[in-house]
Symmetry: C2
Subunit: 239 residues, 2 copies
């Protein structure tokens, strides 16, 4: 039997053992949703960077750069952090340098994990299928919002954990995983309605259109399992 | 309207503003339950200390010391951390120096809060009544277990938040508060059954008798509102 744990904040990550397990990074609004979209649109690879300075450096070297702070595109960047930018015509075959308020820092933290995968609602089934066959101890790593707990990442962690427990090959003795599963089961019939109370969504509502929010809360739109390895994100399913 | 926020771990405390609000520290298994019991049993005051060394120093000075690590009484101490020690015959009129794995450190962290109160299931109604009349922005501060989220403290935070929202004078835009309330509403009809999955309880089951666990999950047994101020815990209701 393999174990599932859930970490609710980057500030708690170091209390969990990541070295010997597969980590799934989740940042529904919007980094991991956007990364799944970019990979599904045929991007060759994404290079997540932790700081604006690094993103600028790459821009000066001629890279395509997607970068935002607090939901808004940075001036020097080609795109912001909305999944709507990551269309095949914008990204197919290209390398994209990527920097966001929360998500890219979280991804960088998993550099030493045994395996680091990118999870979201839009690739939920693909990530669950992969983990069901990969069979490994798992840490579901919610990006939260500025180190605070958030509902949407927790719900996605709950969805993954519930399916893995259902497979009969996983167990959990982790309170945050139990909480995430219970919240997922409360929310799953109407994710958008449930997450109307999410503070991060309230904040983003001012910046993000309703159809982008709907997209971020849609299940199983793309069949990719982005994997972060040696500084780059590529699809682990595309060998 | 006054705001409610909930912090799930001591490692997240510094991301919240505590200076301008009333903080409720919660450590159901068992520090805050034991403190409420001691105060209700007539203890003059409790002095929480953060380290074993400090507890020993007080012991050498002749103080009564309650101290444990990982659920077990330390050799030099008079009592451990079980509420069963804090009977009137043991504590009435006395000053008790108190040190635990988790809870006392959490309490010490609130030294700079506007007001620091001790919450548990056993004084739930008293603390809600106090907060309903006190009218202030509130941070519900869950001690967790070694900086990780735990279910039992979260449920107590949810119970307090739900009642305060019901009063019509409080609002929340905090995801962890929403999650705590939803989990409380799932669990409230049978707290013991629900928290059977709590990892901390599983761990404590080996050390703590079933009747102590039942006590820790019982509502409204004592009518006290312990308050931490200038290094000491006394009942704010007892003027």
């Amino acid at each position: 039997m393999f174990k599932i744990e859930t970490c609710f904040s980057p500030a708690l990550y170091n209390y969990y053992e990541a070295k010997d397990r597969s980590v799934v990074v989740i940042d529904i609004l919007r980094a991991t949703t956007s990364i799944c979209t970019a990979i599904a649109s045929g991007a060759k690879e994404l290079i997540p960077v932790a700081t604006i300075a690094e993103a600028k450096e790459y821009k000066n070297k001629g890279y395509i750069v997607a970068a935002e702070r607090d939901g808004q595109k940075l001036d020097f960047a080609d795109f912001g952090n909305s999944p709507s930018f990551f269309t095949p015509s914008n990204v197919k075959g290209k390398t994209i340098v990527y920097n966001t308020t929360n998500g890219t820092q979280t991804i960088k933290m998993t550099e030493n994990a045994k395996l680091s995968l990118i999870g979201s609602f839009i690739n939920l089934k693909s990530i669950i299928n992969f983990l069901t066959h990969n069979k490994d101890n798992i840490l579901l790593f919610c990006s939260g919002w500025k180190n605070m707990f958030n509902l949407e990442d927790t719900l996605c962690a709950g969805a993954i954990a519930q399916q893995l427990l259902n497979s009969g090959e996983y167990i959990t003795n982790c309170d945050s995983t139990h909480a995430a599963i219970d919240l997922w089961n409360l929310a799953k019939d109407n994710l958008l309605l449930y997450t109307k109370k999410a503070s991060h969504r309230t904040r983003l509502n001012k910046l993000v259109s309703e159809n982008i929010l709907e997209y971020c809360f849609s299940l199983n739109i793309v069949d990719v399992v982005p994997c972060f390895k040696e500084g780059k994100i590529v699809d682990i399913l595309r060998k």
